[in-house]
C-alpha cells in the first residue's frame, strides 16, 4: 500500500536532487533545469496531499506552479539569451556585477 508518506519522501528526494543541482551547476541553463526539478518535486507533494486529504486545492496549487514555471522559463531564457549575446558565455562566474 502506497501511503502519503511515500509520495512525500519521493518529493523530498527529488527536491534534494534539485538542490544538489542548484548548488553544483555553474552553467545557467543547467541551473534552470535544476529549478524545474525543484518545482516538480513540490508539485508531486501537492498532488499527493490533495489526493490523500481529498482536497483539490493542492492540485490547483500545482497548476499555478506550472504556470509560474512556464513564465519563469520564458523570462529567464530571454534574459539568458540576452546575456549570452552580450558576453558570449552563460557561466555563472562571469556574472559578478553585484559584488558588494
Amino acid at each position: 500500500m502506497i501511503t502519503l508518506t511515500h509520495y512525500l519522501v519521493l518529493s523530498g528526494i527529488l527536491f534534494s536532487i534539485g538542490i544538489v543541482g542548484v548548488l553544483r551547476r555553474k552553467n545557467l541553463l543547467m541551473l534552470f533545469f535544476s529549478t524545474e526539478i525543484l518545482l516538480n518535486a513540490v508539485n508531486i507533494g501537492f498532488a499527493a496531499v490533495s489526493k490523500y486529504y481529498g482536497d483539490l486545492s493542492g492540485q490547483i496549487f500545482s497548476f499555478f506552479i506550472i504556470a509560474i514555471a512556464a513564465s519563469e522559463v520564458a523570462v529567464g531564457l530571454g534574459l539568458l539569451v540576452l546575456w549570452y549575446k552580450r558576453s558570449g558565455t552563460i557561466d555563472l562566474d562571469s556574472l559578478q556585477m553585484m559584488k558588494g
Binding site: 508518506t5 536532487i17 544538489v20 553544483r24 531564457l77
Partner: protein, 180 residues
C-alpha cells in the same frame, strides 16, 4: 499492488532521470533527461487521480517548456561538454545532504493528526476535471486570472528580451560581430 509497482518504477525512473540532469556534463543529455523525468512525473499524477494535472504536466512541461528550452539552446553552443568550475564540493554535498535529511525527516514525521480538514473536499462521483473546473472558476478565479496576466506578461517580456532589432536580420548581426 499495481499501484505500488507503478510507484516504485516511476520513482526509480524519475530519480534516475533527474540525477542525469544534475550530473551530466552535456547540456543536451540533461535536457533530454529532464524532459523524460517530466513525463514520468505525470505518471504519478495519474496514479494520484489527478488526471487533469497529469495532462497539463505533459502538455505544458514537455510540450511547451522543454520546447522553449530546446529553442533557447539553439542560441548556445551545446555540442561541447559544459565546463564548470565547481568549487567547495564538500560544502555543496554537506549542505545538500543536510537539507535532504531534514526535509525527509520532516516529511516522515507523522502528519496525520486528523485535525486537518479539507477546505474544498472533492465530491464523489464528479470527475476530476469537472471538479478542477468548478474550483478554479469559483474560488480561485482571481488567482487564475492573475496567472493568465502573468503568463501574458512573461510571454511579451520573453519576446522583447530576445527580439533582434526588426530591421536587422540575424546574419547581419553575425557579420557585424565577425567584423569586430
Amino acid at each position: 499492488m499495481f499501484e505500488a509497482i507503478a510507484f516504485y518504477m516511476f520513482s526509480i525512473l524519475v530519480i534516475g532521470m533527474f540525477l542525469i540532469v544534475v550530473f551530466s556534463k552535456n547540456a543536451l543529455y540533461s535536457m533530454s533527461a529532464l524532459a523524460g523525468g517530466m513525463i514520468f512525473i505525470s505518471g504519478f499524477f495519474f496514479l494520484l487521480d489527478a488526471d487533469f494535472l497529469g495532462v497539463v504536466q505533459i502538455i505544458v512541461y514537455t510540450g511547451a517548456i522543454m520546447a522553449v528550452y530546446a529553442f533557447g539552446m539553439m542560441f548556445f553552443d551545446t555540442t561541447r561538454d559544459v565546463k564548470e568550475n565547481i568549487r567547495f564540493k564538500k560544502i555543496i554535498y554537506t549542505l545538500s545532504t543536510l537539507s535532504a535529511i531534514f526535509v525527509i525527516f520532516i516529511l516522515l514525521a507523522p502528519v496525520y493528526s486528523g485535525k486537518i480538514e479539507a477546505l474544498y473536499p472533492s465530491i464523489q462521483g464528479v470527475g476530476n476535471i469537472q471538479m478542477i473546473g468548478l474550483i478554479l472558476f469559483t474560488k480561485y478565479l482571481v488567482p487564475f486570472e492573475l496567472a493568465a496576466i502573468m503568463l501574458l506578461a512573461a510571454m511579451i517580456s520573453g519576446i522583447v528580451l530576445v527580439k533582434i532589432k526588426m530591421e536587422e536580420t540575424p546574419t547581419d548581426i553575425e557579420v557585424a560581430k565577425g567584423e569586430k
